[in-house]
Symmetry: C2
Subunit: 128 residues, 2 copies
């Protein structure tokens, strides 16, 4: 496990631009340290980037991703805070289950599409 990654190393690993990483920093999603003015990304930042990109793939906005990330690193906190986090996490999980159902439905429909196409291809071979 490396101590530090440069910004370009990470853009190459994840196929994103430097602008994107700086944008995520501006948005408070990551907090690379500095040597002079240059950003140095630690393994923890790298994992955060993975989580951000995963959230993006699922269609979450930056704001939503920030919320999710903040749940991960919520400090011990007091009772009220803990309850709030538990509720938010439950909400997000419900949303994720809905998305999962959406995926299952779409997958099923696409499988039907494929079957229909294969069936039609078979027909064409017989007919021709």
């Amino acid at each position: 496990m490396r101590d530090y990654y440069t910004i370009t190393e990470l853009t190459r690993e994840f196929g994103i631009s430097t602008r994107t990483l700086r944008f995520y920093e501006d948005e408070g999603l990551i907090h690379p340290v500095r040597r002079g003015r240059t950003r140095l990304f630690r393994p923890a930042d790298r994992i955060l980037i993975k989580q951000i990109l995963r959230g993006k793939r699922l269609g979450f906005s930056i704001a939503e991703i920030r919320e999710i990330i903040q749940m991960y690193k919520a400090p011990p906190g007091e009772v009220g805070q803990l309850r709030t986090i538990i509720n938010k996490a439950a909400e997000k999980r419900e949303e994720l289950r809905q998305k999962r159902k959406d995926i299952e439905d779409t997958l099923a429909e696409l499988e039907q599409v494929e079957e229909a196409c294969l069936g039609r291809l078979a027909e064409l071979r017989v007919t021709s």
Copy 2:
């Protein structure tokens, strides 16, 4: 099953604006018929709207949703076309499986968050 729905009925059912439905029409995703200038939505349009919103929940762009919808209603077509559709469908399915994995991972992490919070709550009750 109703013959026609007005635009407002559908905005209420799906919690979207008229602007949104007109935008989807402009984008060629739906094709409501007209009585005079007024749009009348048929059950088929309603189902399309459901599919569009499902795609949106999964983070697909309008362009991607259009592609998916076009696969559903692809005509018999000739061999080359059929193969193209089969390939596209396979691609989309792969993408969906990735999203499903992302969901599983995020769900697992959020469950950990909840457990950690519950554990901390239990501690607080004992400690106090």
